[in-house]
């Protein structure tokens, strides 16, 4: 099966500060510019209908990776294939009118921030249809107002948003309703890939459950593929087939959800798992704690494991070469000592 989305050795580096000007260079300011390595050597395949969870702490580069996939940012290196087309080569600026624009959509993290306060729910959902909606090929004409209305209402039905609420402005809706508007907007164009960026993190648990059910159902019924970004491992486990753990721009572990949750191999994944509540006051805890601050993502040492500063099982080898995931196995880990016993303190 050919993957829907395929990333091959994708890098994203941001230059820091101003480039030295002409005058500065004339006076010998030839220091190379510092680079922030936000995403480094990321490769993965996402198959049609699959749901992949992307987990990592804030600043680990998962937002940047998402923006690379949604083509709001240009890559520094590497290839992004979508439906076997090289969408990574299209400049982000021109992608707004690209044929694949409608196929990659996103549900944003903060339902309040991501809805225009001056648009009604209807206009929020209709906006992508008005811009990108088209009648089927070969005509591919813009959708008529009636067609837009029909599709908006259909999308509202699909996310169980009462049609009466479509006339409301975001501030007149509850958090859960706003999120439904955001999801309806995400599926309005019938995309193939839906990126879910911490969709439920702004919601209370009582509302979260019904949204998680909705997302699972939509995926099943519409045959969507999900790239699900979250910090909540318990949620990822419920909604994803595979999980990728990201740390300082690199994917340090990936594999089927059950395998990774049952036996995390990378020390960072282990620390993440240990931080998840067991919901049981009597459980004997595995106390793996990350004490030090993470390393700086600015001009990192290319021959040192990114997790070195915080790792509880670091060795000499870890600061002499960068461990990479091996591309073959199902459960991959970028660590030299994945099987060493966890002498957690």
């Amino acid at each position: 099966m050919t993957p829907l989305l395929s990333l091959d050795a994708v890098h994203k580096r941001f230059p820091l500060g101003e480039k030295p000007g002409l005058l500065a260079r004339a006076f010998g300011a030839n220091k190379p510019q510092s680079m922030l390595h936000a995403v480094e050597n990321v490769s993965f395949d996402l198959h049609p209908g699959e749901s992949i969870g992307l987990v990592g702490e804030s600043g680990c580069g998962k937002s940047t990776l998402v923006r690379l996939v949604t083509r709001l940012l240009d890559t520094s290196e590497g290839r992004i294939l979508f439906n076997e087309r090289h969408i990574g080569d299209v400049p982000a600026h021109d992608f707004a009118r690209h044929a694949e624009r409608a196929r990659i959509q996103q549900v944003f993290q903060d339902p309040t921030d991501s809805l225009n306060p001056r648009f009604t729910a209807f206009d929020c959902i209709a906006d992508p249809l008005r811009r990108l909606g088209a009648t089927p090929l070969p005509e591919a004409k813009p959708m008529s107002a009636a067609a837009v209305k029909a599709r908006v209402e259909e999308a509202a039905d699909q996310v169980s948003l009462p049609r009466a609420l479509l006339a409301r402005y975001p501030h007149q809706l509850s958090g859960g309703q706003k999120l439904r508007v955001g999801i309806a907007r995400g599926i309005a164009l019938k995309p193939q890939l839906l990126i879910l960026d911490e969709p439920t993190s702004a919601l209370d648990v009582s509302v979260q459950a019904v949204i998680l059910h909705l997302l699972a159902e939509l995926r099943r019924e519409l045959g969507l593929s999900y790239l699900f970004v979250s910090h909540d491992l318990n949620v990822v486990r419920l909604l994803c087939d595979r999980v990728m753990v990201m740390y300082l721009g690199k994917i340090v572990e990936s594999g089927p959800v059950e395998a990774v949750f049952a036996a995390p191999k990378h020390p960072y994944t282990q620390a993440l798992m240990a931080a998840v509540s067991k919901f049981d006051p009597d459980s004997g805890e595995t106390r793996i704690r990350l004490t030090d601050d993470p390393q700086s993502p600015i001009d990192p040492d290319p021959h040192c494991c990114r997790f070195y500063s915080r790792c509880y099982k670091k060795q000499r080898a870890c600061e002499q070469a960068m461990p990479e995931r091996d591309g073959k196995s199902v459960h991959q880990v970028a660590c030299f000592f994945p099987n060493r016993l966890d002498e957690a303190s």
Binding site: D204, Q208, D282, R289, D293
Partner: protein
């Protein structure tokens, strides 16, 4: 310990807010106590009034809010009637509070070490150089590496987790007897979250300090607190030891809250949401504010006089429900 009066006691506390949309009854006859050295969590969803309770207790309520009934006692002081100077003296010395968003709670233009010193200058009679040493020691006590160097850092130079450690260092500088922690780890990464919570727990145990944790996160509460009070729409519905609450919740809301929270081992099928929404507190409310969302509601639920009462079988298990599970 039961014979003694608890260290911190909220009795029958009600708070109303005047807003542009009318009067809102944010807290409805709240009872809560924290014994010396005890760790208690108040768990509630957003809008449940859990933070308002802490603010009211500390006398830092927004001017739009008014306490309409009840009292708050800390040791021998009635916090609601205490004179401002006395309250200021108490806060920071015996009573400390840490908040969500540590970066905004710190003064951005002072080095963090100086901010600890300021607290010491206010509440202790240490000399200047002693204060400085104490501040460095305090930074070391919250496990900040290289404290003498960090002393000079400004908040913007530190990560969110570091800032929260500094906040803890400030809060605990005078060895308070009670720490009120309002969502102390919200917004921090999960791995940082547990480190911060470990730190609070460790320091509380070392100093015999009581902790009142205010959180929306049942998991966090169960991992770190001995007793949990569940709050909904300005009412405390159930309060029990964490173990009892997890094994056998009696209030329908508590049970629904557990069922709605994704937990290790839970499946998507087993995850159920809570029907309805938080009631509109501008409208008159029935005695049990959960009754409009409750599937176990019965005619008796609308009769007045619902109070948080101990269970006959377990006096430490308090419940406000006419038709418990």
């Amino acid at each position: 310990m039961n014979d003694e009066k608890p260290l911190f006691e909220v009795t029958d506390l009600s708070v109303k807010f005047h807003t542009r949309l009318g009067e809102v009854a944010v807290l409805d006859h709240i009872h809560l106590n924290v014994g010396a050295g005890e760790t208690v969590a108040v768990v509630g969803e957003s809008g449940s009034g859990k933070s308002v309770m802490a603010f009211a207790a500390l006398g830092i309520l927004d001017p739009a809010g008014k306490v309409t009934s009840g009292s708050v006692r800390f040791a021998d002081h009635d916090l609601l009637t205490l004179r401002k100077a006395a309250l200021d003296d108490l806060r920071g010395r015996e009573l400390a509070m840490i908040f969500q968003a540590p970066r905004t709670a710190l003064n951005p233009i002072l080095p963090v070490g100086r901010q600890i010193e300021d607290v010491l200058a206010r509440h202790s009679d240490l000399s200047r150089s002693d204060r400085r040493d104490a501040a460095v020691a305090q930074l070391a006590s919250v496990k900040i590496t290289d404290p003498a160097k960090r002393y000079h850092n400004f908040p913007y130079e530190l990560s969110g987790g570091m800032c929260q450690r500094v906040m803890i260092a400030i809060a605990l500088a005078c060895k308070p007897r009670l720490l009120i922690a309002d969502e102390p780890t919200t917004g921090l990464d999960v791995t940082t979250q547990v480190v911060i919570m470990d730190l609070i727990a460790e320091l509380a145990a070392a100093n015999g300090m009581a902790t009142l944790l205010i959180t929306h996160d049942l998991g966090l509460a169960s991992d770190y607190c001995a007793r949990i009070a569940v709050m909904h729409a300005g009412q405390i519905l159930e309060s029990a030891s964490a173990r009892t609450l997890f094994k056998s919740p009696r209030h329908p809301y508590t049970a629904r809250l557990f069922a709605a929270t994704p937990r290790p081992g839970a499946t998507l099928e087993s995850l159920t949401s809570i029907p309805g929404q938080l009631p509109d507190l501008r409208q008159p409310q029935p005695p049990c504010r959960f009754s409009t969302r409750c599937e176990r509601v019965q005619p008796g639920c609308t009769e007045p006089g619902l109070v948080l009462t101990p269970m006959p079988t377990d006096s430490a298990h308090l419940l406000a429900c006419r038709n418990p599970l």
